[in-house]
Symmetry: C2
């Protein structure tokens, strides 16, 4: 690998480490683990079947049971029946859960602070380069550690 590419890879590595770290810290400030915060962020957009949560988190459905259990124990989420299919359980954020998700999103703003060092033109360039690098696979993901 050429030195230039290596530099970019290292920079991305630094970004990855920093964002994960800051996301977990922000979650912890709200008494949540990273996984719990990601599920809560997902649910803040609307109710979702347990299985779909697992797909978004790229983990086994059995794991989601425990994560939603813990959110439920904190009054941040609840399970609802799906009128269309009685096998399905819809996990949904409570009002408290939505509030917490919103506060978490706000507290993550400090993670975006680094971007303030760039001008609007530079941010536009950065966006375009990252989009091309990701090749059309850059859909927004509320459960992503760095997205809010």
């Amino acid at each position: 690998m050429d030195p230039l590419t290596a530099e970019v890879v290292d920079l991305i590595g630094t970004i990855v480490a920093r964002y994960y770290q800051e996301y977990d810290a922000a979650a912890a400030a709200h008494r949540l683990t990273g996984a719990q915060a990601r599920v809560l962020a997902l649910l803040s957009t609307g109710p979702m079947p347990m299985r779909q949560i697992a797909q978004r988190l790229k983990c086994e459905p059995s794991n989601v049971t425990g994560i939603v259990d813990r959110l439920e124990a904190q009054g941040l989420a609840e399970r609802r029946a799906d009128p269309a299919d009685r096998r399905v359980k819809l996990a949904a954020a409570t009002e408290h859960g939505r509030d917490t998700a919103a506060r978490l999103r706000s507290s993550l703003d400090f993670a975006r602070e680094p971007l303030a060092a760039l001008s609007v033109g530079e941010r536009t360039t950065l966006r375009d380069l990252l989009e091309r690098m990701l090749g059309g696979d850059a859909a927004q993901d509320p459960a992503s550690p760095a997205a809010g």
Copy 2:
């Protein structure tokens, strides 16, 4: 937050998720967890006191004990005495460990593939923008999930 900044943040979120995922998959292909792979990458640069490993991983020293135990059980690392301070134990990669770290590094090349979509000039621009964004805190880190 303005829409442009939000776009960049989302793109970075996508990158973070993708790189973590690919790093863990590459580690699993070598029968390692992500944490084990990171420690092994650290040790491949030379022996290191247990406590320093914890500092690099930003975790408690007690956790490092178990991770190095598992690397040792696979013959990838070993503990050595520090001649200068008998309290200190130096974790060191074995030859097998260094080989594995090198292969892991190579297998991570696919994670760098996205950068091939950019020209040299564009990669230079990307590097400069990321460096400014990170503000001088972009030192290379072999234990970073995306670095190798």
